[in-house]
Amino acid sequence: MNPAHRQRPPSLRARRVGMTLRTFLSHSGIQRWRQGELGILPVVFGLVVIAVYFQSQQPTFLSARNLSNLIVQIAATGSVAVGIVLVLLLGEIDLSVGSVSGLCSALLGVLIVNRGLPWWLAILATLVTGAMIGALHGAWFAFVGVPSFVVTLAGFLAWQGVQLSVLGPTGTVNVFNPYIGKIAQSFLPGPWGWVLGLGAAGVSMTVFWVARVRRRHAGLAASASVALAARSILVLAIGISSVEILNRFRGVPTAGLILFGLVVFFSFVTTRTRFGRYIFAIGGNAEAARRAGVNVSGIRIAVFTLAGLMAAAGGIIFVSRLTAASTQTGGGTFLLEAIAAAVIGGTSLFGGRGSPWSALLGSLVIGSVSNGLDLMAQPPEIKYIVEGAILLAAVSVDAVARRSRAAAGR
């Protein structure tokens, strides 16, 4: 080692080409896997196991109708989980999202039914309320210095109280507004489903290949074309099969489209923008981010605001699906399912690692287990136990991966 540093470094070109093999290995996941960067692989594996098991028990599990129902069922939890992913990436937790969802659903119902607001204005007011509540949590955490766990635990209790008082003595508001209903109860016409599925696959393939061409043009190591071709085929296959299956029932559910859109949007934000980079940086080492000039408090407040906004979105989808807001909305296991979904999907509880896609995949796991056990007519007690076991397994995978990451540091 000692004399090496005195030699002239190999030329830039040589080093860049020399990197290709290693980079290929890391792109193909082998190196990252060894270092404990498991990504979405465990959850995809889990989904396959779940699908095979329930299909063998109950042949209607993978039917078009049931898969369509499943997607509508997970849309609310999944949207809330997207917000949770952002908070977890920051290395924090938000325990208030269930209550905020419940409060926002109550507000939506009361504004439309009791106050007679137009549906769009009511939705806007609900989203703004959720965002403001999130901003309040974030500001309290960032400026007063109370741990996010405690701030949002207080919010969990307090906003539930506000929810009850908004709903008043009856405790339920029935929302039979046709526009609100369409959010979770409408479906894209078949051809539009194809436009969406093929369009999304086309866009992502274009992104892959353009990135490769640009990297090569810049003289940097790029993914091997074989790996990219495999990824492209996978994306296309997922796009085609999803639309084909969903079109056999009533088409792509609007609620599923909303969730998918949120995931894609926040995936872009977290990986391609400076804001997203700072979320990861703070989750990895907040002090390092602060020293590098990152506005840590501002980013924290923004992320909690987004979590509140997503909680409100989840509440709206909930009202649309059940055509009612009640004292139960957002209560029960809703909060824990949203957090569990994010973690099961592969976002680390320890901050700085994860992706909005884990909200979608994790809520698919939770949703399909719940749906499958319902199909098998299992009682709720079994459901809780199974969901608890899956959550524990997912966090254990995360903890073990963390250890092997630590061990990989040479």
Partner: protein, 270 residues
């Protein structure tokens, strides 16, 4: 410095900085008191472009306080700081950074979960306008290429893949990333606080080679170290602090470790 491409030396500091036109950074009569403790008393200090100055002294001698005055963490009670011949007042770390004074602290301040490129550009990301006023995205290609250029300019050959997460790097590699980052940022003076404290022999050698690179690229380097062997291997001048005063200055060619130890411990007045 501009963000233009093509100028491969842009990130490695101003090669045009003059040698022999006086110190780039000069401290005159710096005093600092913390309550009852007089941490620094009337300390002068100077570093030139292309010079490595080692700052040595026992624990509590005032080394850290002195560099914190330079880096903007502490404000001196008395004395003047001259940067490139002009008097400056550094009230906050970012003001030091704007002048071109970068510090690399012992705990490195890298994000483990980010890769080398992401760490090198943390807080100074290069952006591309996609939809001009609203949407700007990260220019990953430009940042990756610049990182490779900077590492190559500084002869850092130990980092094979700049897209590797910093968590997977060795202590020496991490220190190299932290120092390269400091050198890249339009900097003229780099303060290194115990850069090899936690490293083995081979890795320390990597880091010291990097320190020499910084000097060759015309940066002024302030090196705090307890390891005299290391100090003698890279420093042009050695400044000794004892009980908050500057007690000795040695040219590295004309002294022995014994003299320096004597000055540090106060066994001999200089």
């Amino acid at each position: 410095m501009s963000a233009s491409r093509g100028n491969r030396d842009e990130g490695s500091g101003p090669t045009t900085a003059s040698l022999g036109r006086g110190p780039i950074l000069e401290l005159r009569g710096i005093s600092k008191r913390f309550g009852a403790v007089q941490a620094l008393t009337d300390v002068d200090f100077e570093v030139s472009a292309g010079e490595v100055v080692a700052l040595v002294g026992d624990n509590g001698a005032g080394k850290s306080t002195l560099v914190k005055c330079i880096a903007g963490t502490h404000a001196p009670d008395a004395g003047a700081i001259l940067f490139e011949g002009r008097e400056v007042h550094i009230h906050a770390p970012n003001e030091a950074t704007q002048l071109g004074i970068e510090s690399v602290y012992q705990d490195l301040a890298l994000c483990d979960n980010l890769d080398v490129v992401q760490n090198m550009f943390l807080g100074r990301e290069r952006l591309t306008s996609v939809v001009p006023p609203i949407l700007r995205t990260l220019s990953e290609l430009e940042m990756e290429r610049r990182s490779l250029d900077v590492l190559e300019t500084l002869s850092v050959t130990t980092i094979a893949n700049v897209r590797e997460k910093v968590a997977a790097l060795s202590g020496g590699q991490r220190q190299s990333v932290a120092i390269s980052r400091a050198a890249m940022r339009n900097s003229k003076v780099v303060i290194l606080d115990e850069p090899t404290a936690a490293l083995g022999v081979a890795q320390s050698a990597q880091v010291l080679a990097l320190v020499q690179q910084l000097r060759e690229h015309g940066l002024g380097v302030i090196l705090i170290s307890h390891n005299l062997q290391e100090v003698f291997s890279v420093a042009d001048r050695i400044i000794v602090l004892r009980l908050g005063r500057r007690v000795a200055t040695f040219k590295h060619r004309s002294t022995t470790p014994e003299d320096v130890v004597a000055a540090i411990t106060g066994a001999r007045a200089s």
